[in-house]
């Protein structure tokens, strides 16, 4: 579904992604691991066309999406992205946040959008908060709303950028449970995370990044159980203490 070849991007003199290749199959859950600054977030931002790349191809369903001639809005309609800081719209209720794109972009009627939103909110246990404003919710609740907002567009590909990093440990679980359900339902997910136990549990493949390149990738058992590269070993040793 997603094919990346030779993806390169620099900020000034700093090469953030260095000729990176990555393939993601439909229905696959790929977890990106790596230290801060290894390029995980930048990779996700490139896929969502939020950065102008220096070289390389990003193909989604066979279409070169980093072609400057494409309609970026049409591409992004099929890609969901959730950010570390939730980024909910504070002036809209939970329901308003979730139905904004389904009404204005996907063109659902008010009633259809509302039904879809309430069903998804019920699945994450937040149907009772439909009329609350984001600032009155906990971080975990806000992030679940952000996930629902992205999923409501029924994207082919869901990008999750450290969605639990701003949450305290008590709230991480409730967000990861939602991601786990999405994965079980067959959603294609590329996810940057520091939650190694979760990645072991849910990921079909783990990709370890360092210095803007893929150092090692494979099943969780391979990469986490028997890391080959010294950089992966050092990273895991620090995290799994």
């Amino acid at each position: 579904m997603l094919t990346i070849r030779g993806l390169t991007i620099s900020f000034g003199d700093h090469v953030v992604l260095d000729a990176l290749d990555l393939d993601v199959a439909a229905g696959e859950v790929v977890c990106l691991l790596g230290a801060s600054g290894s390029g995980k977030s930048t990779l996700l931002r490139c896929i969502d066309l939020l950065e102008q790349t220096d070289d390389g191809d990003i193909l989604l369903g066979g279409v070169e999406i980093n072609d400057p001639a494409v309609n970026e809005d049409a591409i992004r309609r099929n890609i969901g992205m959730v950010f570390q800081a939730y980024n909910l719209f504070p002036h809209l209720t939970v329901l308003g946040n979730v139905t904004l794109a389904t009404r204005k972009v996907a063109g659902l009627s008010r009633r259809e959008a509302r039904e879809r939103a309430l069903e998804l909110l019920a699945r994450v246990g937040l149907d009772g908060k439909a009329h609350a404003y984001p600032d009155s919710l906990s971080g975990g609740q806000q992030q679940r709303v952000a996930l629902v907002r992205a999923v409501a567009m029924q994207p082919d590909l869901l990008l999750l950028d450290e969605v639990t990093s701003a949450l305290d440990p008590m709230l991480v679980g409730e967000v990861l449970d939602v991601v786990r359900d999405l994965a079980a339902a067959g959603q294609t997910i590329v996810m940057a995370t520091h939650e190694i136990p979760f990645a072991r549990d849910v990921a079909d493949r783990i990709v370890f990044l360092d210095g803007g390149a893929i150092v090692e990738q494979g099943t969780p058992a391979q990469v986490l159980g028997n890391p080959q590269d010294p950089r992966t070993q050092a990273f895991l040793a620090r995290y799994l203490d």
Binding site: S10, D54, D55, N66, P68, A69
Partner: protein, 279 residues
């Protein structure tokens, strides 16, 4: 940077370059078309020849220029004096209105009445009332010079607007900033002065300067009480020659000052956005 780029990437870069050129061309063409149509509309109007003679006469422009330039210096001085007075009055009023001290209650009421009344009364009315009413009181200490009476009138009017802008800025600073100031042991006043006000003023700088742009041109209202500033000088010339070109010349003086101020405001706004986005 120096690494070789793929052929496909070169195509993408060429596409982006072309797109930039097309965008610039579209901008230029639409500008020429719109401005051209506006100009044509004015020039082809039936009265244009007449208007050109009475409003855009080169001879009268040159004749009136030195008189208006001399008088405009008065507008500049008024603006500079009133700007400082307005800042002092506005800051005082805004702070009185936000400080939650019960002892200040009468002043809070007065400050509220002041902002309500002076934002409601047209500035020209305030100018007339102060300019002709204050001296009539025959109080000791009331200045008799038109300059200071005019300055007081504009300060009263603009102080009310600017006080509300500053108050909005103070209120918009997040409560956690107050909390962290107080948590460090700073008093209410010190938190206000060192933590909240600096953030508030930065946040409202664009609307603040917007008010000063407005103040600058409203110095012309003082012609109503007989101050010979730029507009008055232009009117005098117009009355003598029956030609309106001098009024246009005085307008150019005001524009020459307001445009740089307006661009400065834009720049402040952009800089504030960049700072927030960065990091």
């Amino acid at each position: 940077m120096t690494r070789p780029v793929s052929a496909r990437q070169l195509e993408r870069q060429a596409y982006r370059r072309n797109r930039t050129i097309v965008r610039i061309a579209v901008g230029l063409v639409s500008t020429v078309v719109v401005l051209g149509a506006l100009t044509a509309g004015v020039i082809t109007s039936p009265g244009w020849d007449r208007v050109k003679l009475t409003f855009f006469d080169w001879h009268h422009a040159r004749e009136s220029f030195p008189h208006i330039a001399e008088a405009f210096w008065l507008n500049i001085r008024l603006f500079l004096v009133v700007e400082v007075l307005v800042l002092i009055v506005a800051l005082l009023v805004a702070v009185i209105r936000v400080i939650p001290s019960p002892a200040l209650l009468p002043f809070k009421i007065l400050a509220t009445i002041y902002t309500d009344v002076f934002r409601g009364v047209p500035t020209l009315l305030v100018v007339l009332l102060v300019g002709f009413g204050f001296p009539a009181l025959q109080l000791a200490g009331v200045p008799s010079s038109l300059f200071w009476l005019g300055a007081i009138a504009l300060t009263l009017s603009y102080g009310a607007y600017v006080a509300e802008v500053l108050r909005a800025g103070i209120v918009s600073v997040h409560p956690t900033q107050w909390a962290s100031g107080r948590a460090l042991g700073l008093s209410y006043g010190k938190t206000l002065r060192h933590v909240v006000l600096p953030q508030a003023v930065r946040r409202v700088a664009p609307p603040l300067i917007n008010d000063f742009v407005s103040l600058q041109k409203d110095t012309a209202l003082l012609s109503a009480i007989g101050l010979v500033e730029a507009l008055r000088a232009a009117s005098v010339y117009q009355a003598e020659t029956f030609n309106f070109t001098s009024i246009g010349v005085s307008a150019l003086f005001f524009i020459a000052v307001t445009i740089p101020l307006a661009r400065f405001t834009d720049w402040l706004g952009i800089r504030a956005l960049r700072r927030q986005a960065g990091g």
